[in-house]
């Protein structure tokens, strides 16, 4: 028989985890392509039909900008309509606030907030569009999409905090090649994307999310000066304030209307100074006001709801007749990627190579018919080239008639493209009036639009082939690691059963193999989760499932606890709470309290996607006002500390040492309380210097005391255990020969108890600092739940299956994850919290803080395993005779394997679901964000489990090695150690 030693278990587990990591990273990088399809930059070939590509002309490459510009002008056939461009980006402005929704104007106060812009729209001097942005709606990918016309890879989100230069073809590079001078004022993301392109720039960090005033003043202060200069051709203004207003107070923040007014003033200043004044000899200027993304009602963004993708594209300064154009019509919906090709054609430069957008035809109304067709043709050529790159074997033979298009993708694109080209040619061959809009002209335009629409949709859906081999390898690796972990779990279970059969007396044998309802259900939960992952609405509303199954499991535990109540047949319901039922009664009360706190947690945030507007406790508190939230926060802080100290005093040992530890705990606790009291609700201005220093101090104190406890305590554990000895009275009746081992075990147990306690409580304190004020109460409730489940496990004794309890704690952690307001949409990540207590911009630090905030609850569940191991040590006492390394295996086995197993099953299942759903409509909006969360959960489980394993092994090693060095002091007779 294969026997599982401690080292084998460790090696196999680590091997499983490493295989899983490799598989996961291979899968992620092959499923979410980072690179777009074509490298290089569009040049002169853009003005030739794709079939002539064989004749390469390299001479154009090194032309000086002026010659290149004239060459473009000569070749393009669409004369540049403008000479200079002002691109004004208002970060996070939903188009709805300017253009209204469903044909209705926006709310009256918003119209009043932007009088000048609205008057421009009403008089037809400006055209506004709802420019639908692709998810993820985060700043950097959206800026890239606007200037390159390509929908970036999904993993761009991951790099949003680590912006890198945009190396692919884009509008700004095209402008640069024709010799444009560019100036950038605003978000420094632009400087990171284009490090050497600007002649002047003033970058503003999006670092202090709480600053809504200074960021915009830093942009506007240069504006009068820049507007009076004529040395630039492109001026980029990126205003971050509105996004920050949203992050702080949501769409309906009181700061929103003043901020819109400020933006309106900027538009007015630009328009009155320059664009109205077209008669100067510096050429015509176009003002384009865009937003990179919208925001939800709460002011977050990242997901794919209408509110987040609804960004603005406003063209001011077009001279065509747009008076008939209804500003609030529902027709004016385009895509954000269309901006790139539109601007490229307006300014007479080649369309960027990877552009998938289609020109906005309303903008080109002022052109003659042949020029308009030429513009469509240029865009078609560019898209056709991209198609050729993505669909190998796309080559068309000349058609001489109109065909009906169907069949495979390649033949359909060919046919549509050739139809359009044919119609265009036949229109050209006839000599008709250039402004006639004849029937043939209309059919040609229609054919081009059809081709462009179909090609753009296909390209943006990325029906490109994924590297099947790599995907298969990734999935296979994950499956293998999942199998390894599961078989380890099975082996441990089997061994435990053998041992129990040997050590327990025979009459209990019969109950050993019963398949209890709670065990079956624990398995069933995994099954239910896997099945529910296939449905997009279940993924969106995952919080319901976790809460439902967790509370069901706890109800099943309750049923089990009632089973073990022993009462004489005749006695009535009311004489239960006596005698040997004490343990069961403690269990029942713990479970009921867990249920109640779980329900409050569930009600704290509505969560999900579809029912976020339903009332919940957090909304109710926010309506009640900031001072109530603060009061709740204070009360929570005090309660967390009280609870921590009470649970520490459950350890009935050397009072002095416990007092010292309690004092160590008080210091950071009081600091946190101090911070909560001093901290203003932060609508006004960035966080102050003092606050940052205080928070850094809290980080330091928390870190050092926690570390000190972990490192020093095992060495001092003899002090902890000096007055006491074994654990359970009833077990020690026969344990005289192993007294030494048991006293060692008690030392280990005690120190693990205190270390586990320190982990949980320090983690809660850290969360009190980092989380939004509204989340302070849920943190307390999570702590309560964890402590109560430890209490439950303590009384459940050796007869309860350990792995069920560990799984229940893990499920509770996941349910709590959603109770803290997280969801499977990227919009709920608390970006503002990631900068608390950081003075300089650091991607790594903010990433770590963001991770700590988001995974507060699963992490506390896994960290509680240290305490769990301590609490369950009575099991080892019953089952083993000596403290050997098999002991360590039995201690760590379930608490470490179960989270790894559960997570690997869910991760593998979800990977397969993602592959099956790769053509689903919601693959980028629902399934992919969920997959990123699944990956982050995996990281969380790895971190937590390795911390637990390292801590327990370290404490074990210290206790054992200390004993072998010095002879054991004589132990006093046993007495109960933990009183509850």
């Amino acid at each position: 028989m294969f026997s599982l030693t401690c080292s084998k278990l460790t090696i196999f587990t680590i091997a499983g985890v490493i295989i899983q990591m490799i598989g996961l990273s291979v899968f992620v990088f092959s499923f979410f392509p980072v690179k777009p399809a074509l490298s290089g930059f569009s040049g002169l070939e853009s003005f030739r039909a794709p079939s002539f590509d064989l004749i390469q002309n390299h001479s154009a490459k090194n032309l000086p900008p002026d010659e290149l510009r004239s060459l473009y002008r000569e070749l393009s056939g669409v004369p540049p309509s403008f000479d200079r461009l002002i691109l004004m980006v208002i970060d996070g402005l939903p188009a709805e606030l300017v253009l209204g929704k469903d044909g209705k104007p926006p709310r009256a106060e918003l119209v009043e907030a932007m009088p000048y812009t609205q008057s421009l729209l009403a008089s037809g001097l400006a055209i506004g569009f709802h420019a639908k942005a692709a998810p993820p709606t985060v700043t950097m990918p959206r800026l890239k999409a606007m200037v390159s016309g390509a929908i970036g890879g999904f993993l761009d989100v991951a790099f949003n905090f680590n912006t890198q230069a945009l190396l692919d073809d884009n509008l700004l590079y095209q402008f640069f090649k024709v010799g444009w001078k560019m100036v950038m004022l605003g978000d420094e993301t632009w400087l990171k994307l284009f490090p050497e392109l600007f002649i002047r720039s003033d970058g503003v960090g999006s670092f202090f999310v709480k600053d809504t005033v200074q960021v915009d003043q830093n942009v506007s202060r240069h504006l009068p000066d820049e507007l009076s200069r004529y040395d630039w051709d492109l001026l980029i203004l990126h205003y971050l304030g509105l996004d920050h207003v949203g992050h702080i107070g949501g769409r309906n923040s009181i700061l929103m209307a003043p901020k819109l007014k400020e933006m309106d003033e900027v538009v007015k200043m630009i328009h009155t100074s320059r664009i109205l004044n077209q008669m100067n000899n510096h050429g015509k200027t176009l003002l384009v006001v865009v937003s990179d993304h919208g925001m939800t009602d709460n002011g977050n963004h990242g997901g794919s709801s209408y509110e987040e993708t609804d960004s603005l594209a406003l063209f001011i300064g077009l001279e065509n007749d747009v008076s008939a154009y209804a500003s609030y019509s529902t027709q004016n919906t385009v895509y954000q990627i269309d901006i790139a090709s539109t601007l490229a054609l307006l300014f007479g430069v080649p369309i960027p190579k990877n552009n998938v957008g289609v020109l906005i035809s309303e903008i080109f109304k002022h052109l003659a018919d042949d020029q308009k067709l030429r513009a469509l043709e240029l865009n078609s050529w560019q898209l056709f080239r991209l198609l050729q790159a993505q669909l190998p074997g796309l080559s068309c033979d000349e058609g001489s008639e109109i065909r009906k298009c169907n069949g495979s993708l390649t033949t359909m694109f060919c046919c549509l493209y050739m139809n359009a080209a044919f119609l265009h040619n036949s229109w050209m061959s006839k000599d008709v009036s250039r402004f006639n809009h004849g029937e043939e002209y209309n059919t040609a335009v229609g054919a081009y639009s059809e081709f462009l629409g179909v090609a753009s949709e296909c390209l943006s859906r990325r029906v490109t082939d994924k590297p099947v081999n790599l995907l298969a390898f990734g999935v296979a690796a994950m499956l293998i690691s999942c199998l390894i972990l599961l078989s380890l779990f099975y082996l441990i279970c089997k061994e435990l059963r053998e041992r129990e059969r040997i050590s327990l007396s025979n009459f209990e044998n019969s109950t050993m193999h019963t398949w209890h309802l709670d065990e079956a259900f624990t398995f069933g939960v995994v099954l239910m989760l896997v099945i529910s992952m296939g449905s997009s609405s279940m993924v969106e509303e995952e919080q319901y499932i976790w809460h439902f199954v967790t509370s069901t499991l706890i109800l099943l535990f309750l049923r089990k606890a009632i089973q073990s109540l022993k009462v004489g047949r005749a006695s009535s319901l009311f004489s239960l709470v006596k005698g040997q039922n004490r343990a069961s009664c403690f269990q029942i009360t713990s479970l009921v309290l867990i249920l109640i706190s779980g329900r409050i947690l569930r009600g704290w945030h509505q969560g999900g996607v579809n029912w976020t507007n339903l009332p919940d406790i957090s909304k109710w508190l926010e309506q009640a006002g900031g001072e109530y939230i603060k009061a709740v926060q204070l009360v929570t802080g005090i309660l967390v500390m009280t609870l921590s100290l009470i649970s520490l005093s459950a350890l009935d040992t050397n009072k002095k040492l416990v007092k010292v530890i309690g004092f160590c705990f008080l210091t950071p606790g009081l600091l946190v309380l101090h911070r909560v009291m001093k901290h203003q609700s932060s609508i006004l201005g960035p966080s102050s210097y003092n606050d940052t220093v205080l928070i850094q101090m809290i980080y330091m104190v928390l870190g050092f005391t926690a570390l000190g406890t972990v490192v020093a305590l095992p060495w001092l554990s003899s002090l902890l255990a000096s007055k006491t000895c074994p654990y359970y009275n009833f077990d020690t009746t026969t344990s005289d020969p192993k007294l030494q081992n048991t006293s060692q075990l008690v030392e280990l147990t005690n120190s693990l108890f205190v270390i586990g306690w320190a982990y949980i409580c320090y983690w809660s304190l850290l969360q009190l600092v980092l989380q939004q004020p509204i989340n302070s109460m849920p943190i307390l409730l999570l702590l309560v739940q964890v402590l109560l489940s430890m209490r439950y496990s303590f009384y459940s004794g050796p007869h309860h299956k350990q792995w069920v309890e560990v799984a229940a704690v893990y499920y509770m952690g996941m349910a709590g994850h959603y109770a803290l307001g997280n969801s499977n949409s990227l919009a709920t990540i608390d970006v503002a919290g990631a900068y608390i207590g950081i003075t300089s911009h650091s991607t790594v630090l903010s990433g770590v803080l963001m991770f700590i905030i988001t995974y507060a609850s699963p992490m506390v569940a896994i960290l509680s395993m240290v305490m769990y191991i301590s609490v369950k040590s009575s099991n080892y006492l019953v089952l083993t005779l000596s403290v050997d390394s098999g002991e360590l295996k039995r201690m760590l086995g379930f608490p470490c394997l179960i989270p790894l197993c559960l997570n690997s099953i869910l991760l593998t299942a979800y990977t397969i679901v993602l592959i099956l759903m790769r053509n689903h409509l919601f693959v980028w909006s629902v399934f992919s964000p969920k997959y990123l969360y699944a990956c982050a959960t995996t990281v969380c489980v790895y971190t937590g489990v390795s911390v637990v394993a390292a801590t327990v092994s370290y404490a074990y090693w210290v206790v054992v090695s200390r004993r072998t060095q010095s002879p054991p002091p004589s132990s006093p007779p046993p007495s109960s150690m933990i009183k509850r």
């Binding site: 193999h513 969106e540 439902f548 109800l555 009632i562 009462v567 047949r569 319901l573 009311f574 009600g603």
Partner: protein
Amino acid sequence: MKHKRQGRPAGLEAPLALVSAAEAFIVHLICAVGLAVSLWVAHNLLFNSLISHPSQTLFLIWVIECPVVILLYSHYRQNRQQSSYLRAVGRGMLTLLAGALVSAFAAIALGAPVGAKYLSSTINWSMMMSLFAVVPAASVFGSSWTDWQRLFACTKPVGTVDYMICLPAHGAIIGSWFGAWPMPLDWERPWQEWPICVSFGAIAGYLIGMVASFGFVLVRGILQHTKSD
């Protein structure tokens, strides 16, 4: 593993053995008819259904079904010497309230919405659940803890009456648990509201439980018959 049958004291076996399969069938039939009548009354006389007016319909169900269940099951009360028929009825009525409290707690713990809007539905639903799951047992066993524990915590029914109580009760509970699953889906159907689909689940589970219980009683009867031959 086979459950170890904890033999009852012989004195109690006698009255329970009298319940035949036919009798069990009649009891279940009357309960089902009561349910059907209450749904019919709600639908035809008051022009509302479970979907349009959940609260009123649930109220009707438990008000009409309540006397049927209590009166029927009190016939099979234990300890006939000590407790009269009227006492059993009274016990049933009292337990209706206690059981409603328990089921309301369980439902809310599992995520049922709290709030004034849902108050009456929750009350009526938990009354119905209490009637399906707890009241028959109270009428029969009173406050005998071992019987309660045997039926509900361990699910080890022994006699015919045990089956008649235990299976429909578990059916109703499991049915309502499954009935809650469609609630978070975004189908935007009116029946996804609390407690409509849960009630449907409970009623369906209750009916299935009664059929199953009759089946068990029948099979047991046949087995015992062959054994005694």
